[in-house]
């Protein structure tokens, strides 16, 4: 009996124990390594992360891949690729300026190479959706809210939509048809996403831009004071300034409208949209700090997350092409104030043959490899040619630690750059050694878009196209001087007064004379195409390495500026000359993951998955137009 009593006592005890276990299971369900943000923290934090994705802040990997072998900047002649060598008769694809990847001889032979070399371009398809994944999460979070919580957070969804749309159009510009209207709907159980017509995407985005720009003030006014403060803190682009957001959105609207102005889209009157936004466009350069300081951190360990370290590591691809140089350095090779582009010493690294800061020269790289070889023979002692003898590196390296940012701090420093190898590189002070901010939208870009609007009569801008060109030159000079004069990185390399005077001039180069000359040259240009050539030359010079994808799109749309044909010495047998070739690299192919994971929809667009179909916004009369000049600019 006693034992049965024990039994009856134990049973309730077991029940109590099992019940208390429920609470422990609840606790253990949570991951103690993850912070659980409050609802108001979630949407703002998700939004901020979009602003620091690679589409808005290029990181080390992005820059590094962009300037690899056979990648976009050298293919479209933003950079001249590898430094020229005197022995350019070699069959090595890389040991002379430029690569062949832009003008393909045969899709089958070169297609894979392009795809491999430009993996970053192709990856931008997937990155659009995965880097912007927070857009879908913000949307889902907002859908759960109502009342005051909704009023305080809906602004993040609206602005995330803007950023998502900006990248969507960039993605259309590379791939034409993309999944858009059903994208980001995985959480709704939609695992297969149809591809949408690119003109419908453009139309929708422009309409969405207009709607958001219109409703933003009301949305902002409904936010509580605390929510506005959070927005100010979390918005790393504009610090919660809604008016700047509206101007930015209008600027992007202008860009989209100009892009499609050569084709007809049902239901979209670009002229009237441009007229609507033209009065409230960005009136200053919009930039933002990167997410890390000491982007080069050259005295550090050398293996951290360094944003433009990639440029240092890619030094030998960063020579400056004649396509831009001949539009900046007029007359002699020497820099002559008033005659030459004032941005030249800011964007490019000058070379002084006389160790005099007022005596600097610039040498662009030609598409004619034989010319490069001969020019090099005139500049450098031929007996010093070769891997060991020639000081071939404009970005000096220490002997035993090559390709390491740390080495630059203890090397000969910037003096070596201005007195060393004369071939022109991008200016390392501007691009490497200052904490310049990322460009969100620059005023000169807007000026150049307006120049085209005025030139083609798309809307009334209140100025002539020539005026806009002159404005662009002035504003671009301001921008690049600002970049050049930004704060030094913490551990700047050794420098000298001579190097400082050449690479980081104390006074802003005078721009008004050259701007007036440029305007005259523009006005004197014969016909719309000749004027478009100048607009696009200026776009190339202004945006150069910071917006290669924008330039790639504009190049294909306008077929300007004309590129140099890549010609090689007769002994160069592996890759024949491309003189007279038309461009066949009009778009990028879809990533292979689409075949595997979105097959049902992909097979509907598979016939478009090639290198040769132009993006929809290329006007019909431009589709067969040659991208190349008949011969190199300089003989």
């Amino acid at each position: 009996m006693k034992k049965i009593l024990y039994f009856l006592l134990i049973m309730p005890l077991v029940t109590v124990i099992m019940t208390s276990c429920e609470a422990e299971l609840d606790e253990l369900w949570k991951n103690p390594n993850k912070y659980v943000p409050a609802p108001e923290e979630v949407t703002s934090g998700l939004f901020t992360h979009i602003q620091k994705t690679r589409f808005f802040q290029e990181d080390y990997g992005e820059w590094w891949w962009q300037h690899g072998d056979g990648t976009l900047p050298s293919a479209i002649q933003i950079t001249a690729g590898y430094y020229p060598r005197a022995d350019a008769g070699s069959n090595n694809l890389y040991d002379a300026a430029y690569t062949y990847t832009f003008a393909l001889l045969a899709e089958v032979e070169y297609g894979t190479y392009v795809q491999t070399g430009n993996g970053n371009c192709q990856n931008r398809f997937n990155w659009f959706y995965t880097d912007l994944t927070n857009y879908g999460d913000i949307r889902n979070e907002i859908n759960k809210l109502s009342g005051e919580e909704y009023d305080n957070t809906i602004i993040y969804l609206k602005l995330a939509t803007v950023l998502k749309d900006v990248v969507a159009l960039q993605t259309v510009d590379l791939f034409n048809k993309i999944p858009y209207f059903s994208a980001f709907n995985g959480s709704l159980g939609e695992f297969s996403t149809p591809y949408d017509e690119p003109d419908a995407i453009y139309k929708s985005v422009v309409e969405e831009f207009r709607a958001i720009a219109t409703e933003l003030p009301d949305i902002y006014n409904k936010m509580s004071a605390v929510a506005k403060k959070t927005f100010e803190q979390q918005d790393i682009f504009f610090k919660g300034d809604v008016n700047k957001w509206i101007k930015y959105i209008n600027g992007e609207t202008l860009r989209a409208c100009v892009r499609v102005s050569g084709v007809t889209i049902d239901g979209l009157n670009v002229n009237s949209v441009i007229t609507e936004v033209i009065g409230n466009l960005p009136d200053q350069d919009y930039t933002c700090k990167g997410r890390m300081t000491n982007r080069n951190n050259i005295a550090g360990a050398g293996d951290g997350e360094l944003l433009t370290r990639a440029l240092y590591e890619r030094w030998n691809r960063l020579t400056f092409p004649d396509v831009m140089m001949t539009q900046m350095n007029h007359g002699t090779d020497k820099f002559e104030a008033g005659i030459d582009d004032p941005r030249l010493p800011l964007i490019c690294a000058g070379f002084t043959p006389s160790e005099d800061a007022d005596d600097i020269e610039f040498y662009g790289v030609s598409g004619d490899k034989e010319r490069n070889r001969k020019a090099l023979l005139g500049l450098v002692d031929p007996t010093s040619f070769g891997e060991k003898g020639m000081r071939r590196n404009g970005y000096p390296q220490k002997g035993e630690v090559t390709n390491n940012c740390q080495s630059l701090a203890t090397a000969a420093g910037l003096d070596m750059i201005v007195k060393g190898f004369p071939w022109t590189y991008f200016n390392p002070v501007t691009f490497l050694f200052t904490e310049w901010e990322y460009d969100i939208s620059t005023r000169a870009e807007i000026d150049l878009l307006l120049a085209e609007v005025a030139l083609k009569g798309l809307a009334s801008t209140g100025k002539t196209a020539g005026d806009h060109i002159a404005d662009a030159l002035t504003h671009s000079t301001d921008f690049w001087y600002g970049m050049n004069q930004a704060e030094w990185v913490t551990s700047k390399p050794p420098t000298t007064p001579l190097a400082d005077a050449i690479l980081r001039p104390a006074a802003k180069p005078e721009a008004s004379t050259y701007a007036a000359n440029l305007k005259d040259r523009f006005n004197a240009a014969n016909g719309e195409e000749a004027k478009m050539e100048i607009i696009m030359q200026q776009k190339y010079i202004h945006l150069n390495m910071i917006k290669p994808y924008e330039l790639f799109a504009e190049l294909r749309r306008t077929r300007h500026p004309k590129l140099e044909p890549i010609t090689t010495p007769p002994s160069y047998t592996q890759y024949p000359p491309l003189t007279g070739q038309t461009l066949v690299w009009e778009r990028f192919r879809y990533p292979s993951t689409q075949i595997s994971w979105n097959k049902e929809e992909f097979i509907k667009v598979e016939q478009d998955d090639n290198w040769v179909n132009p993006i929809f916004w290329v006007p019909q009369n431009k589709r067969s137009e040659n991208y190349f000049l008949l011969r190199a600019i300089k003989n």
Partner: protein, 681 residues
């Protein structure tokens, strides 16, 4: 090193023993990469990432020390209420703590800066604790004159797992050599880095209520029932509880059916539906929260990711279930059970599989964690046991096992047509109605008649069209098993046993990077064809850079066609493009530039001599006085050699993990030799 050989960057002819100290200079410091190059060493030696000297420095100069303490404690108590009713309570703690200490020496003193380069100190601690607690009422009683026996238990159990890991280490160069402390850092990174210090902790628990009843009537008819309900912390609350039952029936027909030559026989039939929870935190949607160094106070939030992939969480994950029915027969023949046959058949369905399935990134996510699908498996398992020789002092035992399984994908999550696990552009595809483990890739570009099309370079390429995906094999074997045999002799001198084991596997396909690269680099005999006239190379004329020509005898023309029309209007004629053997084999190094082709997929069958063992046991009359029941000495050797294999040059078992179909110059399984002493008191 293996990769270096396969990739052709490391010549097999080097005398490695002669290189033992070549990585050090006269100070005992590591040579700089540039110094080594000046000394004429090739890149395979000097590379700072996997080069030979880098490996030697790591092996001979750096120190990695792992110290583990493992303790297992348990306690048990039984309260007997009635002769047949008891309460058994028991608990146990399994605790492991492991310290990892890493000490990397400084590489050298920089002559220019006067500072030390290199050096690393890192200390990691891992603690893992498993707690098990159980309480069962047990019932054990005979009825009906002992003809009916019932044995049962019921109660609750709890299992909890806790894991904590923390580490601290230096970054950058040391200030002082051989000074092993965290403070010995020449500089400090600008922002926090997990390589300096990190901490994480995890835990999970499962509570169970379970019971089992066993009823045997005359030892002929045996019924068994199980029932269990688990509550797991790794599943969302609504699906945390899951019940799984089971039942079986066994009929010992030895006495009921008097079959000729049969000494013993039984049949069984069982059914069960078991459940499994999700991996820890797998089903929990959460966020990564960081800050932006240059924007003080600004939150930066991203949904949690899995190896860089954005995860979609679709509702509440349910426990994974497996429903299985199994039947079998166990029969022993002849006097002394000289022959035994054990044959079973099973049919199971795994449903509500918990897994991460790849999504098209256009959904906004890369992976979705769901109860993904349903897979049906059927299989047979056969075990033959024989005693061919049985004398008083000597016997020979032999057993042969064989297993075969057929698996099919029955259902996938709505909206997902198929699931691909991609390695090296080869898809391991799960598709409804198809076998599990099917390998797909792009076929070679072919003309309408099925002839392979060569490119302008005269080499094959893969089709660029998705319709040309073909199934080229399956990762799963057709049949596998083993043969084990023992020769046992005993007498007054003791007992001796010689045994060996052979494993076999037939079927299953792999991609062997080693073989592709070895062939591409001309390091294996299958790259001999066409390399000269003697090996079938045809004569052709090469035009050099200076336009001069030379005659070569290493040409070949790949069977197939070439296109003399355009891409839009192709016109195929027989291929006559001569390619050099060098260019032909080099194409393997670039994976054909477009990915691996069907020719690169190999069957991976083998018969392996797994083990041989020789044991000697002393006679009991010698050991019993020492209070030792049994004392045995043994020699063993494992992983000896392959009797047969279809994939040359590689160890067929050295794939990347289980169920992998990619061999990537991995180390072969270790061959081991052992001597053992077994003492039974």
């Amino acid at each position: 090193m293996q990769q270096s050989v396969a990739w052709g960057t490391f010549n097999r002819d080097y005398d490695l023993s002669g290189l033992r100290d070549a990585y050090k200079d006269e100070n005992g410091w590591m040579h700089t990469k540039e110094n080594l190059e000046v000394l004429g060493w090739p890149q395979a030696f000097t590379s700072s990432n996997g080069g030979l000297f880098d490996m030697l420095w790591n092996n001979y100069e750096n120190e990695n020390l792992d110290e583990k303490i493992h303790s297992i404690t348990s306690a048990k108590a039984t309260v007997k209420f009635l002769p047949y009713l008891s309460l058994r309570v028991q608990g146990g703690i399994d605790y492991t703590t492991t310290d990892y200490t890493k000490k990397d020496k400084v590489l050298r003193k920089n002559a220019t800066t006067g500072k030390w380069e290199g050096g690393k100190f890192k200390y990691d601690v891992e603690e893992a604790m498993i707690q098990n607690y159980e309480g069962f009422f047990t019932f054990d009683k005979d009825f009906k004159n002992d003809e009916l026996h019932i044995d049962a238990f019921a109660g609750g159990a709890c299992k909890r797992f806790d894991y904590t890991k923390s580490n601290a280490g230096t970054m950058g160069n040391f200030i002082y050599p051989d000074f092993w402390t965290i403070n010995n850092m020449d500089g400090w990174p600008d922002s926090f880095d997990g390589r300096i210090a990190d901490y994480s902790t995890e835990a999970e628990a499962t509570y169970s209520v379970l019971g089992q009843a066993f009823a045997s009537y005359k030892d002929k008819y045996i019924f068994e029932f199980q029932a269990r309900n688990d509550w797991s912390s790794t599943l969302p609350k609504v699906n945390r509880s899951y019940f799984y039952p089971g039942a079986s029936f066994t009929w010992n027909f030895t006495d009921d059916l008097k079959l000729p030559l049969v000494n013993y026989g039984k049949l069984w039939l069982s059914w069960a539906n078991v459940g499994r929870p999700a991996p820890r935190y797998f089903a929990l949607s959460s966020y990564n929260v960081t800050s932006i160094p240059t924007y003080s106070g600004t939150n930066d939030i991203t949904p949690v990711i899995d190896n860089g992939k954005a995860i979609l969480f679709m509702g509440d994950i349910k426990p994974e279930r497996k429903r299985e029915i199994e039947t079998g027969i166990d029969v022993k023949f002849f006097e002394g059970d000289r022959l035994g046959i054990n044959l079973s058949y099973y049919d199971n369905t795994v449903y509500d599989q918990i897994m991460a399935v790849n999504l098209t990134p256009t959904t906004g996510k890369d992976l979705v964690r769901i109860n993904a699908g349903e897979v049906k498996n059927q299989g047979i398992e056969l075990l033959l046991k024989g005693l061919p020789v049985a004398y008083k002092n000597f016997k020979w035992e032999v057993s042969l096992s064989l297993a075969r399984q057929w698996s099919e994908v029955v259902k996938l999550y709505p909206g997902i047509d198929h699931y691909d696990d991609i390695q090296s552009d080869i898809y391991n595809r799960a598709k409804v109605g198809e076998p599990v483990g099917s390998l797909y890739l792009r076929d070679y570009a072919k003309d309408p008649n099925g002839n392979r099309i060569v490119s302008a370079a005269g080499l094959y390429t893969l089709s660029t069209e998705s319709k040309d995906e073909i199934c080229v094999g399956n990762i799963n074997p057709d049949v596998y098993g083993g043969l084990n045999s023992s020769f046992i002799s005993h007498g007054t001198w003791g007992e001796a046993r010689l045994s060996f084991g052979i494993d076999y596997k037939f079927g299953g396909n792999i991609l062997s990077y080693s073989n592709v690269y070895l062939k591409g680099n001309g390091l294996t005999t299958n790259s001999l064809p066409y390399r000269d006239a003697e090996h079938g190379g045809i004569e052709w004329t090469e035009t050099l850079n200076d336009k001069s020509t030379r005659t070569r005898h290493d040409g070949l023309i790949l069977p197939g066609v070439k296109n003399i029309g355009t891409a839009e209007n192709p016109q195929y004629v027989e291929n006559d493009i001569v390619v050099s053997a060098y260019d032909y084999y080099s194409s393997f190094l670039r994976d054909m530039s477009t990915g691996f082709g069907a020719d690169d997929i190999q069957e991976n069958s083998y018969i392996k001599f797994r083990e041989i063992a020789l044991e000697y046991t002393l006679p009991a009359r010698l050991t019993l006085p020492l209070k030792v029941q049994r004392l045995t000495f043994g020699l063993t050797a494992r992983n000896l050699f392959y009797l047969y294999k279809t994939a040359e040059n590689i160890d067929p078992e050295s794939l990347l993990g289980t169920n992998s179909w990619v061999e990537y110059t991995n180390y072969p399984t270790s061959r081991t030799y052992g001597f053992n002493v077994k003492i039974t008191f």
